[in-house]
């Protein structure tokens, strides 16, 4: 009797977390879809088969790198160079993952491993701003569901783009290029309203990234440096928050 009651309470808690994760992932889904469709269309025009297009989204799950790879295939670049360029562009996920798992101290390693594999710019930044879920029970279900929502839209969109070709009116799909930037802004502003010092962290990261690219640094390394240096200002700026809630 007692265990039964406990059981049903637990499944409700788990389901609740899954539902909340999906809701949190919804803006990413909206942002990914047009980009994934565009990727699928471009990749099929470059001569990749639908299997290859979808498989790349399933295994790599990194938008910018996939676009880069398609562009490099189109210009006949060698595989090794494409792989190195992918590494450089995606190395920022190392810094993001470190920040992400540092918050998930209560979550088991076997749950952390699949979660980190699903980290992108978008799943990381959204997850990072949903902090309290890490400490709730079934916290890993929340993040898993958030990531899977994004993943499904990325993989599904890539496949559809490859199969259907150019289905979206060009002007609409071009306008939707702003979607992920708008999402990043929509994530940053509420944090700034809660703590004005965050403006300094974000702007410092922007300036460092911008200057590094101005002097000709590769975009991948510039984002890594901007993130690390901008974040370092938090050592002093976030002092009074201590452990944060």
């Amino acid at each position: 009797m007692q265990t039964e009651a406990l059981q049903s309470y637990r499944s409700k808690g788990r389901l609740g977390m899954v539902r909340r994760g999906m809701l949190a992932g919804l803006p990413i889904m909206l942002g990914y879809l047009p980009i994934a469709l565009t990727y699928g269309v471009l990749a099929s025009q470059t001569g990749l088969s639908n299997l290859e297009i979808t498989l790349m989204s399933v295994l790599v799950f990194a938008g910018a790198a996939q676009f880069l790879a398609i562009g490099m295939v189109a210009t006949g670049t060698g595989i090794i160079e494409i792989i190195i360029a992918t590494f450089v562009l995606n190395f920022r996920h190392f810094v993001m993952s470190l920040s992400f798992v540092n918050r998930l101290k209560t979550i088991a390693l076997k749950a952390k491993i699949p979660l980190t594999l699903g980290l992108t710019d978008e799943t990381f930044t959204v997850s990072a701003l949903y902090r309290k879920e890490a400490k709730e029970s079934y916290g890993s279900w929340f993040y898993a569901s958030l990531i899977l929502t994004a993943y499904a839209s990325w993989v599904g969109g890539s496949f559809l783009g490859g199969v259907l070709g150019d289905v979206m009116p060009t002007r609409l799909s071009q306008s939707m290029g702003i979607a992920l930037y708008a999402m990043f802004i929509g994530l940053l502003i509420p944090s700034i309203k809660a703590n004005l010092k965050i403006v300094f962290i974000a702007v410092l990261a922007m300036v460092v990234n911008f200057l590094c690219q101005m002097i000709g640094m590769n975009q991948g390394w510039a984002i890594v440096l901007g993130t690390i240096i901008g974040g370092a200002s938090g050592i002093w700026l976030l002092q009074d928050e201590g452990g944060e809630e």
Binding site: F94, S99, N102, T125, G234
Partner: protein, 97 residues
């Protein structure tokens, strides 16, 4: 050929994502590193927004700026993030009519 490229890309993408899970399992960071890592999401958001937003319409960077301002305004007025995204898309759409 392409399949090897995909596998190679998957490996070099997965390793940097995966490594930190093992690092934090064995290393415990001092407070100041915790604060640094806590600030990473805000710094990442900054670096991801700018200057990338200028290339939404590469030939007319001001469109990205204006759409970004609309996003900031909507977000400042506590509009839900989906509304912020749709408002910015609509701005770019209208500006490129």
């Amino acid at each position: 050929m392409i399949i090897w490229m995909i596998i190679g890309m998957a490996v070099v993408t997965a390793i940097p994502r995966l490594l930190p899970a093992f690092i934090v399992d064995v290393v415990s960071f001092p407070d100041w590193v915790d604060r640094w890592l806590n600030a990473i999401p805000y710094a990442a958001l900054g670096a991801l927004i700018f200057p990338g937003i200028l290339s939404v319409k590469p030939d007319t960077p001001q469109i990205g700026i204006i759409a970004g301002m609309v996003g900031i305004l909507l977000s400042w007025l506590n509009v839900h993030i989906i509304g912020v995204v749709i408002g910015s898309i609509a701005t770019v759409f209208l500006l490129t009519l």
